[in-house]
């Protein structure tokens, strides 16, 4: 129980929760599996970014979260 997944903005409603705790390590396939089908579909879109340990990943499919890391799912920011 050592990786925390945080859902931001509208993804929070899609997930039905603010955050999830899962066991380390967590990779891209693991994230898609635990995120739920609605969030997983959005995660596959290029518009949703993933941060791990405070850094936005250039290639989110290379995610490799270790014990104690926070993984943030970042939907597109709002305009207006």
């Amino acid at each position: 129980m050592a990786v925390r997944i945080v859902f931001l903005g509208p993804l929070r409603e899609a997930a039905g929760t603010d955050s999830l705790e899962v066991s380390a390590p967590l990779d891209w396939d693991g994230l898609l599996a635990v995120a739920g089908s609605v969030v997983a579909e959005q995660l596959r879109s290029a518009r949703v970014h993933v941060a791990c340990a405070g850094e936005v990943l250039a290639d989110k499919t290379a995610l490799r979260a270790e014990d104690g890391d926070e993984v943030a799912l970042l939907p597109p920011v709002s305009g207006g």
């Binding site: 931001l8 941060a51 920011v77 305009g79």
Partner: protein, 171 residues
């Protein structure tokens, strides 16, 4: 002609100490643009000019409130990095970048950006650059509360296409 405040600006300004060359803040309470700009102006008394932009919550379309959420581990470092980029890119004496988070009412300030420079064009361009990048690159999500009481509901504000066009100007 201008009336005087009961309290002097000098004493009021002294209460608000800004960081130089970049003062970057996330505020969870009221954003007072007049106070901030008076202090920024007093701090940059060597500058030829100061440009600023204050973005406010727009009333209308039944909007009762605006909620702005962010992801703390990214937001402030992102704003500080952006302020540094503006200082590198333009010939500036200093910048101020303040952003509200939390729930705001129509008419309240959301974002205040100011730039002090020797020349007007640099101050103007820096404020424009900061606003374009803050809105499209910083990690903020907004939703509006529309309607009254039990009929009220929150609506997410979508990303805007022309923000991306605005960003392309700076490539």
């Amino acid at each position: 002609m201008a009336t005087k405040w009961r309290c002097s600006h000098r004493s009021a300004v002294a209460r608000l100490t800004l960081e130089s060359p970049a003062d970057v803040r996330l505020l969870d309470k009221g954003l007072s643009a007049g106070e901030a700009l008076a202090a920024f102006n007093a701090m940059h008394d060597q500058a030829g000019g100061i440009a600023s932009f204050l973005g406010k919550v727009r009333p209308g379309e039944d909007v009762k409130a605006l909620e702005l959420t962010h992801y703390e581990p990214l937001t402030l470092p992102g704003m500080e990095k952006l302020a540094g980029q503006a200082l590198d890119r333009f010939a500036l004496d200093g910048v101020l970048v303040w952003h509200r988070v939390g729930t705001m009412q129509p008419g309240e300030g959301i974002v205040l950006v100011a730039a002090a420079a020797r020349h007007r064009r640099a101050a103007f361009d820096a404020v424009d650059y900061l606003m374009d990048h803050l809105k499209s690159a910083a990690w903020f999500w907004k939703r509006e509360r529309r309607g009254d009481g039990a009929n009220g509901a929150w609506h997410w504000i979508e990303p805007r296409g022309d923000d991306h066009a605005a960003l392309a100007r700076w490539q």
